[in-house]
């Protein structure tokens, strides 16, 4: 399954700025590398995390002078917002004395169309606005349809706001189509008294599935690999692995998104602490243990790791072959310092169990998933 990539604000602004959207001048910073910001202030220091609500969490701070910059940066970089430790900041020129508008293009799964939205009352609380304040039109993902919808929602706003929404909106329509976006929101879109506008905040999601036809996005992710560890991991390794709890104790080597998610739920409900989500796609390994090696190596990075659970439900894959690959991966990894509970169910399960038993590696084999989860809690009781 291909996911949506939530671009960090800074990256979204760089992309859209290059496509003619006016955005405040700004630089990317980190706690220990603080480039000189443009202008004379005031500035806004913003945590770059792929999640909404950073303002409420203290991740956005206005500073009046250069003296305040480092202090604000230090404070924000100390934050963890909804599980994401803040590692990067965007420092940009503040936009004072402006009205806050809203314009956005959002994928609507229910209709498979784009909702074009605009409001004369933008700001952080857009979701909490009265329904009547937001104007919505549904459009097909082509320029004519999106432009017509944009004209309609803009037409419901006061003239200056309408012009700003129309102009800024035209840029995001083009970007949506060019970049295979699934969401672009300007919120706020600042409208100055003189009628000029500038995009105060940008949220932009792009479609991971479209990356093969988006060389620009691919280059961006390459340049900013550290900021998109999961997308880069997936691109490099061909499967999904997401650390859900850096303090987690149980590493997962699992196939299938739904079942892996469910495993995390059931473990969590039973008081266990899974370290990661994972969809290794066992059907696509083609005789190469590389994914297994990378998966196990990655979960072993968890500082509190106590156990690894391998859970493969094989509809099509032959599990005997998988078992062989697992042993190869373990050989390549050398000593694995935690016990492995292995649950292989499906096509060739008997052969797989026999292969693993014969290896003498002391793997803990268990067919029943509930018992396998229990064994993860106390692998020492297993009669391996």
């Amino acid at each position: 399954m291909e996911a949506t990539i939530l671009l960090l604000e800074h990256d979204a602004k760089m992309l859209l700025g290059a496509r003619g959207l006016t955005v405040p001048e700004g630089v990317l910073a980190a706690a220990d590398t603080m480039p000189e910001p443009t202008g004379d202030g005031p500035w806004v220091v913003k945590a770059q995390v792929p999640v909404g609500g950073r303002g409420k969490a203290g991740g956005v701070c206005v500073v009046q002078d250069r003296a305040g910059l480092q202090e604000a940066a230090d404070a924000i970089c100390a934050l963890t917002i909804k599980g994401f430790p803040v590692r990067e900041l965007r420092i940009e020129e503040a936009v004072p004395d402006a009205t806050e508008l809203y314009v956005g293009l959002v994928l609507d799964p229910a209709t498979a169309e784009v909702v074009v939205m605009a409001s004369a009352e933008g700001g952080v609380e857009i979701e909490a606005q009265a329904e009547t304040a937001i104007h919505r039109r549904w459009a097909r993902p082509d320029e004519a349809s999106l432009t017509a919808a944009l004209a309609e929602v803009a037409g419901a706003l006061p003239p200056n706001a309408a012009r700003a929404v129309t102009e800024a909106g035209a840029r995001i329509v083009a970007a949506w189509l060019d970049l295979d976006a699934t969401l672009i929101e300007l919120n706020p879109l600042f409208l100055r008294a003189d009628g000029s506008w500038i995009a105060g905040d940008v949220r932009m999601d792009v479609d991971e599935g479209a990356l093969p036809r988006q060389p620009g996005l691919t280059a961006l992710l390459d340049d900013r690999a550290a900021a998109y560890p999961e997308a880069i991991f997936k691109r490099d390794n061909g499967f999904d692995l997401v650390v859900v709890d850096p303090e987690g104790e149980i590493g997962l080597v699992t196939t299938g998104a739904g079942l892996s998610m469910q495993l995390i739920d059931e473990m969590t409900a039973r008081g266990l602490k899974p370290y990661n989500f994972c969809d290794i796609r066992s059907g696509g390994m083609r005789g190469d243990p590389a994914r297994l090696v990378e998966n196990i190596r990655r979960v072993l990075e968890g500082p509190n790791l106590k156990c690894i659970l391998v859970n493969i439900f094989a509809g099509i894959t032959e599990l005997g072959e998988f078992a062989g690959l697992l042993l190869k991966a373990l050989d390549e990894l050398g000593e694995v310092p935690v016990p492995l509970v292995v649950r292989l169910v499906g096509n060739g399960q008997d052969r797989a169990d026999a292969i693993l038993r014969a290896s003498g590696r002391g793997l803990i084999l268990e067919r029943d998933l509930d018992r396998a989860i229990s064994l993860c809690a106390a692998p020492e009781v297993a009669d391996a």
């Binding site: 994928l107 799964p109 498979a112 093969p212 079942l259 969590t268 439900f313």
Partner: protein, 298 residues
């Protein structure tokens, strides 16, 4: 066409497979044939005129439809080729497209959705794990080990979670009347709510099990539909992702909690108020379904 597909008393629908000569396609065509699927044609310009595992290969969809009367197409092609493949099939007159490819671009999915409406056709996907009526037909990847004819309609976003659920229900004697994998995509052809009218009078179905997950509003939309047009049979749901952190995409494109939307709680509440029994783990769901059936047959 989906309705005919799930009606065991209707003649089997003739199916064609686009990209039939690919390695995985060939493997799955054999498995689908082995499950009784009426695959009448494959499409592959470079193998046109050949016969592969008993299936004649055509150069184009139009020729295949002309030659075999295929009404359903299963494109087994790379992600970027799904849209053009589906378009060709629709223009050749196919009435149902089932796409199973992972990674079809969202914008392509939106285009296909519009095309489907224009043709008055049906689409299941983008990345459906498959559809099946056990013993009758199987389109896609659903593992044979999980398939067993029985009283349960299984509607699922996830492949693997539904495999695990199906296998455990099967071990309690409860197979499937039909299994529709709608896929975990944000933009998709068939959504849970679309299945309600199809299954209302589906006599082999005595209960529905939904395999849902966090993200999007599909479960909420289903709940709204069920509240308006009850199914008249028990509905159970397992929802994955109750422990997923916000802002992390959990494999499926749609499986992300964002801005407080698409949460487990929102879905569970909506479904429960529509009379659905909601679970966050498989064992209690399976126990409950099995108990209810035991009571009924006792």
């Amino acid at each position: 066409m989906l309705e005919q597909l799930i009606d065991p008393a209707a003649p089997q629908v003739p199916v064609m497979v686009q990209g039939a000569t690919g390695r995985a396609a060939r493997q799955h065509i054999k498995l689908m044939l082995g499950h009784g699927t009426n695959i009448v044609a494959g499409i592959s310009p470079k193998a046109a005129g050949e016969v592969q595992d008993g299936v004649p290969i055509f150069a184009t969809c139009a020729e295949a439809v002309e030659g075999t009367g295929a009404r359903v197409s299963l494109p087994m092609v790379p992600p970027m080729s799904v849209l053009p493949a589906a378009r060709e099939a629709l223009e050749a007159g196919v009435r149902l497209i089932v796409t199973v490819t992972e990674g079809m671009p969202v914008r392509d999915a939106m285009h296909l959705h519009a095309l489907i409406r224009e043709h008055g056709a049906e689409w299941t996907g983008a990345s459906s794990p498959g559809l099946a009526v056990p013993g009758r037909c199987k389109l896609g990847f659903l593992p044979d080990a999980c398939l067993a004819l029985g009283p349960i309609a299984l509607w699922s976003k996830s492949g693997t979670l539904s495999y695990e659920t199906a296998l455990r229900l099967k071990s309690r004697g409860l197979g499937q009347s039909a299994w529709i994998g709608v896929g975990g995509d944000a933009v998709k052809g068939t959504r849970f709510a679309d299945l309600v009218p199809l299954f209302r009078d589906h006599t082999p179905t005595r209960a529905v099990v939904i395999v849902g997950e966090i993200g999007g509003t599909e479960e909420e939309d289903l709940a709204a539909r069920l509240a308006q047009e009850p199914l008249d049979k028990p509905v159970y749901a397992i929802l994955a992702g109750s422990a997923a952190p916000e802002g992390k995409t959990m494999g499926h494109a749609g499986a992300i909690v964002s801005g407080g939307k698409g949460t487990f709680e929102s879905k569970a509440e909506a479904l429960q108020s529509a009379g659905v029994h909601v679970f966050r783990a498989i064992p209690p769901l399976v126990d409950r379904v099995a108990q209810d059936f035991q009571k009924e047959t006792a």
